[in-house]
């Protein structure tokens, strides 16, 4: 046979194989040339030996070691037992087969001379006997057997090729009988010449590591969530560093920022560990079923408790919502308050104005109480405190209350303090709004703490004077805050019907009970009359019953006290035994006293003897006297002008005077109560808005807006409102000018007053008032 025969045979087979894979062909080629697949490279390779491999000599290597093979697996365990949970005991395990299948492959090769080969390739038998090669069997059973078998899953294309092959084969057979097999062609007249290059062996080195633990995590994230996390992280950081410091012997804590970061990371690790330990604990806990039940119970309770806590917390939010609701309900009033200006004021030549009623404040439980005092907060423009008690000494109402109202919620007070006795006076601290001093009917003082703190979780009272020794022996008619003392402790003064003026200092170090308040009597208001002889012959010094008090806004040591006898005492905190001045002001109790906000020497007083008087403190006679013809119950200077003041009369009218405009008549006189029998008791100006509030003896408060004419503010030539220091000087000058107008004729004709200097007249007034009261 020709030496090229096997190759030719191969090439001849190639078309026969048709769709068989390339790999097979390559394998065949290799088999022709090389002994084994990887032989060529192995020869060049230096085998790597492990360093600890035992070295054997040649003889040792050649020594034969006999190994017996047996069909029984010696490594297999005999008498293996397994635990049976049903039987609750060990039972003998059934032995399995002893055979181990090491390798199994369904071969597609057939022997050349075998019967199968003859079956498969009957035609090639005679020619190719000498070929030592294996003939590859077609992987699908021969398609040539039945060309029509289209159901074999072979694609049409393949079929076509196979048909062509069949045709070729037939020709081939015919030719083969005549001559030796020649080069076979496929239908494309394609001749395959295979050439084998050296293939680099495929090597695979792989190392398997323990895969890192994985977990999937999903969350929503945006800028503020990140911010929150950072915040909580910084909040937790100090703790983490402490832990680390404790864990790492304290050495790590002294590093810089980087150290901190590290510590943060370590802290996180620790957290993770902590979590793990927690989980472990949970697992342990879950083993015990009883504990499980307990945990569940606790969580249910937590749920309801959380809801209740949320509900309790919602009080603040609901309060604000109530304000919003009120804003909607009284929307028109609010607009009036903010924007309505009486347009008719511009056309009034006399400079008169009007007041516009806005909200009304009423509290159900205070319907029968009198409004005894009103105090606006100086720093919160909408907050004021009102004390409720009784002025009716024939039928006194025993209890009282202090309500803190806000303009934002007219339906219900912000704070309520039910006093054990009638509250006769109250005052909000000018700087610390949360402090409200209250004077009670029984002579006690109370201090309300409105701000929430640790001791005072429900925002009520409380420091109260419990010292029997120090308390007033009769109703406290007035309380006024003074400036904080040297230790910055808030302190206030109270004056009562017993003629005492007591100075109260709040000591923050002493708390609870009445210990926080310490009182010192400052002055006793002795009347400038000789001692009166008592029934048993002893002499008594008469003292005045204080009814009103005013502390000078600038010289804080000077204060005025008005008495029920009609005197006004000008005293000093510094020496209590003497009075700087005693004014014989009124014939009936002084109802109200107030220093002017701008002029340091001017103050205002009013009384039920029908008069309002404007005083210069250097003069024993009043500068201006206004006789109204009806009892005046309260009066107050306007905070925005030195010449404007307002008063309320027994008839229910509110009078507003501007001395700069009219020195004799009020520029506004308006009825403020709707019912005839209702007497307005108190009037107070809001320090920020053109607003006055009037309280009456039915516990009702009415807020009134002043029209533009009643609150003329100084303007510079350009029309801008003057403010600051120039305004103060302007106001002072305005008042000084007014005073000088009155003073000038004094040297000639005496003060221009309408005083009822005659005692007879006074007696008449007294009798009239007495009759009126009865």
């Amino acid at each position: 046979m020709a030496p090229g025969k096997p190759q030719q045979q191969d090439q001849g087979k190639a078309p026969q194989e048709g769709g068989a894979s390339k790999g097979k062909k390559r394998g065949k080629g290799r088999r022709g040339n090389f002994e084994d697949d990887y032989g060529y490279s192995r020869r060049d390779q230096n085998l790597a030996k492990p360093p600890d491999q035992e070295k054997l000599t040649e003889t040792q290597l050649k020594e034969e070691l006999v190994r017996n093979l047996s069909c029984v697996d010696p490594a297999k365990m005999k008498n293996r037992v397994v635990w049976d949970a049903n039987e609750k005991g060990f039972i003998l395990a059934q032995d399995e087969e002893q055979t181990i299948h090491m390798f199994h492959l369904d071969s597609e090769l057939i022997f050349k001379d075998s019967q199968e080969e003859i079956k498969e390739y009957p035609f090639s038998l005679s020619e190719e006997v000498e070929d030592p090669e294996f003939v590859e069997k077609k992987s699908p059973p021969p398609a040539s057997a039945d060309p029509s078998s289209s159901n074999d899953g072979i694609s049409d294309e393949q079929k076509a090729t196979e048909e062509a092959e069949d045709a070729d084969e037939k020709e081939e057979i015919a030719q083969a009988k005549e001559e030796k097999p020649t080069k076979l062609l496929n239908q494309f007249n394609f001749c395959e010449r295979a050439s084998q290059t050296l293939n680099n062996p495929i090597r695979e080195h792989s190392a398997q590591t323990v895969p890192p633990p994985r977990s999937s995590y999903k969350d929503y994230c945006n800028a503020w969530i990140i911010y929150d996390l950072y915040e909580s992280d910084t909040a937790n950081r100090p703790k983490a560093t402490k832990k680390v410091a404790a864990g790492g012997g304290g050495g790590e804590g002294e590093e810089g920022e980087e150290g901190e970061k590290k510590e943060g990371a370590e802290g996180e690790e620790k957290k993770d560990k902590a979590k793990d330990t927690k989980k472990d604990k949970e697992r342990e806990g879950k083993v015990a079923a009883k504990e499980k039940v307990r945990v569940r119970k606790a969580s249910i309770l937590e749920g309801t408790a959380a809801q209740e806590a949320a509900l309790a917390k919602s009080a603040e939010g609901l309060k604000i919502l109530e304000r919003l609701v009120m804003q909607n309900v009284f929307n028109d009033v609010l607009h009036d308050f903010k924007y309505y200006e009486d347009a008719s004021d511009e056309f009034r030549e006399t400079g008169e104005g009007t007041i516009l009623p806005l909200w009304k404040f009423a509290y159900d439980r205070a319907k029968k109480h009198h409004v005894t005092s009103i105090s606006w907060a100086q720093s919160e423009p909408d907050m004021f405190a009102v004390s409720y008690g009784s002025f009716n000494f024939m039928h006194p109402i025993l209890d009282g209350m202090v309500l803190i109202w806000s303009l934002r919620n007219t339906a219900f007070p912000e704070h309520i303090w039910m006093a054990p006795k009638g509250a006769m006076s109250c005052a909000i601290h000018p700087l610390q709004d949360c402090l409200v001093a209250v004077g009670l009917y029984d002579g006690n003082v109370a201090l309300l703490q409105l701000r929430e703190n640790e001791e005072n979780s429900n925002r009520s009272v409380i420091l109260k004077n419990c010292h029997i020794v120090m308390k007033h022996r009769s109703p406290i008619w007035s309380v006024r805050w003074a400036d904080n003392d040297m230790d910055n402790n808030p302190n206030f003064y109270s004056c009562g019907m017993d003629g005492q003026v007591i100075h109260w200092v709040i000591d923050p170090s002493a708390s609870g009970g009445g210990g926080g308040l310490s009182g010192t009597p400052i002055a006793t208001l002795h009347l400038p009359v000789p001692p009166v002889q008592g029934p048993d012959g002893t002499n008594y010094n008469l003292f005045g019953c204080a009814r009103a008090m005013a502390i000078h806004p600038k010289e804080r040591s000077t204060f005025l006290v008005g008495t029920a006898e009609g005197n006004i005492f000008q005293c000093s905190m510094l020496y209590g035994s003497r009075f700087q001045q005693i004014y014989n002001a009124h014939f009936l109790p002084v109802a109200a006293l107030e220093w002017n906000y701008f002029h340091p020497d001017v103050f205002l007083s009013c009384s039920e003897d029908w008069t309002i008087k404007v005083w210069d403190r250097n003069d024993s006679e009043p500068m201006y006297v206004f006789e109204i013809g009806v009892a005046i119950l309260d009066c107050a200077w306007a905070p925005y002008s030195s010449t404007v003041f307002a008063a309320v009369t027994e008839e229910g009218k509110t009078l507003v005077y501007d001395l700069n405009v009219n020195k004799e008549k009020p520029i506004c006189c308006q009825q403020v109560v709707t019912k005839k029998k209702v007497r307005p008791n108190r009037i107070a100006f809001n320090p920020y808005y053109p607003l006055i509030v009037v309280g009456d003896d039915r516990g009702q408060l009415t807020t009134l807006k002043l029209s533009p004419n009643l609150r003329n503010l100084p303007r510079d030539p350009k029309g801008h409102i003057v403010d600051g220091e120039p305004r103060v000087t302007f106001e002072i000058n305005k008042m000084t000018k007014l005073l000088s107008l009155v003073r000038d004729p004094e040297s000639v004709t005496g003060p221009k007053t309408l005083t009822l200097a005659d005692e007879k007249q006074a007696k008449n007034v007294l009798s009239i008032m007495g009759a009126g009261k009865k």
Binding site: A310, N328, A411
Partner: protein
């Protein structure tokens, strides 16, 4: 464990007092003019206290809660240090006021028929 149990054995008396106070506030608000209902719900939107019927409570609580969440998101996107406190939704018929807090959500529904009534009155005159 025992401490916890002790703590959770029931609401504290102080809390109860505050709860009463809150209930009184809710009563008061619902008594105001044009107020349709007051709802206090927890952070999940489950009503704790309500003056409305069940359907409306669930509807408003869920709706306003979503609005509050969106509002909070908007406010905090602009400035993470900021937070939403109140929203006030004005609609043709109603005004919905809500106060949002991490722990609770308080809602007041108020009708706005007042303006319409006024018009009717004016027409009548």
């Amino acid at each position: 464990m025992s401490e916890k149990e002790h703590k959770n054995s029931g609401p504290r008396i102080e809390d109860l007092m505050v709860v009463e106070k809150v209930e009184s506030i809710i009563d008061r608000i619902s008594g105001h003019k044009n107020v349709e209902g007051v709802i206090v719900c927890d952070k999940e939107g489950a009503a704790i206290q309500t003056t409305m019927d069940n359907t409306n409570t669930v509807m408003y609580a869920e709706g306003i809660r979503n609005a509050v969440i969106m509002g909070t998101s908007m406010v905090r996107d602009c400035d993470p240090t900021n937070d939403l406190l109140y929203i006030r939704i004005g609609s043709k018929k109603l005004e919905m006021l809500a106060h949002s807090d991490p722990d609770y959500l308080a809602i007041v529904i108020q009708s706005r028929i007042k303006a319409a009534k006024k018009e009717v009155e004016q027409n009548a005159i």
